[in-house]
Assembly symmetry: C2
Homo-oligomer: 267 residues x 2
Amino acid sequence: MNQPALSFEQLQQRAPLALRQSIAAGHYQGHTSGLGQGRVQANIVILPSDWANEFLRYCTLNRQACPLLDVTEPGDPFFRNLGTAIDIRHDVPRYRVYRHGELSEEPLDIESLWQDDLVAFAIGCSFSFEQPLLDAGIALKHIDLGRNVAMYQTNIDTRPTARLGGKLVVSMRPMKAAAAIQAIQITARMPNVHGAPVHIGDPSLIGIHSLDTPDYGDAVPIATDEIPVFWACGVTPQSVVQASRPPLCITHAPGCMLVTDLWNSAV
Amino acid sequence: MNQPALSFEQLQQRAPLALRQSIAAGHYQGHTSGLGQGRVQANIVILPSDWANEFLRYCTLNRQACPLLDVTEPGDPFFRNLGTAIDIRHDVPRYRVYRHGELSEEPLDIESLWQDDLVAFAIGCSFSFEQPLLDAGIALKHIDLGRNVAMYQTNIDTRPTARLGGKLVVSMRPMKAAAAIQAIQITARMPNVHGAPVHIGDPSLIGIHSLDTPDYGDAVPIATDEIPVFWACGVTPQSVVQASRPPLCITHAPGCMLVTDLWNSAV
């Protein structure tokens, strides 16, 4: 922690393992968008095993919102299926700790919070499908504008378990019709990162009353020849878990994801 | 021709070869929707070889509107790649003959019109993708209403050859957003029958000013929670050829297609 912080440009040069080592050493505490050289970034949810077992059922029932990439054994801080030496206690730039559903702290490391019964979940993220969309020549307005993607609470119920349930959160990207048709085809081939959209067109049909005021992220303008395209979003499980107020839940801070060794084009 | 006509119900029982034999014998002169037991039905265009060579280039350049299933050798009346003993002079229930772009006759047989330089084209048709849509639980309103699908001239230019060119004709099916997303995925896997849609949403963006007045086929109502989905249509090549006024062009009469031996699920 006494070394100087690294610049974003320096970090962009780093392969995933070296990047995680820099993050674990405390040299970077920011967002991971654009880092990791084409590797999968994951949403993180960490829960005590009692809640973890139920959350695993919830993810299984709601795969489009919660595509699981890996789950740890209780007490084991290593993701064994996402790459080399991925220690969830250190490898995320910034965490959020929720106690009984309330945000209590935003640490850079969770070593001191680790418990023998904690289970960590890595959940696929739409960053992985944005690169194939860009590679297909589809412009993504939030990227062009340097903004976070716009996300909205919908009126679509997810499939509940005993204590976990709630509405689906979606991310929205405005596109011309031809690009939307192409984006549906491309993302349908990537079920581990949310898959095909859940809705296109009129936002009010899924309970979104104004696209100008997203519930998470930043608004982007929509042109008259564009159609809004909505994908299930990895914010859903976080929002659902917080609403159920488990005694302890740790997540990544928004935008500060876990960078894995998996290639985006292979999920 | 002196045998009694067969009922539609009798014809539905017939496998493709027996159905074609009944048609060739003059026992049926109607539309083929619902006949052929799940086999591919084809749009037919027949041209003298001079025009045929250019039409083949046109189809190659405009594959989404003109997906070629088979082409005959000049003067050969048999489609060799679509099934057993398919004689294009007899096997279509009803033909249309255009001379210099004008409809001149609607015969049941073109034996007497056959020439040594005629080339026949079999072009994929959206009937083939409607069954997989229905099998996926997607309602098709024109079928529920017993109507022909609605088709529209657009302002989208096709890729021209020297003498052939014009605007794309599309078929339109209204769907709820979730069904539209699914239909895009299903039809994208069927490039030989028009593939993915060319447009979704606002019809005015492709030059269609009123969905209530289709240029071909029948209008269907669109509910407020439905989105219009537009596919390239096999009427495009017919419309383009007629506009160029070749001395002779023979097509199937609308809805009276060639029933082949190919399975819909294999194209």
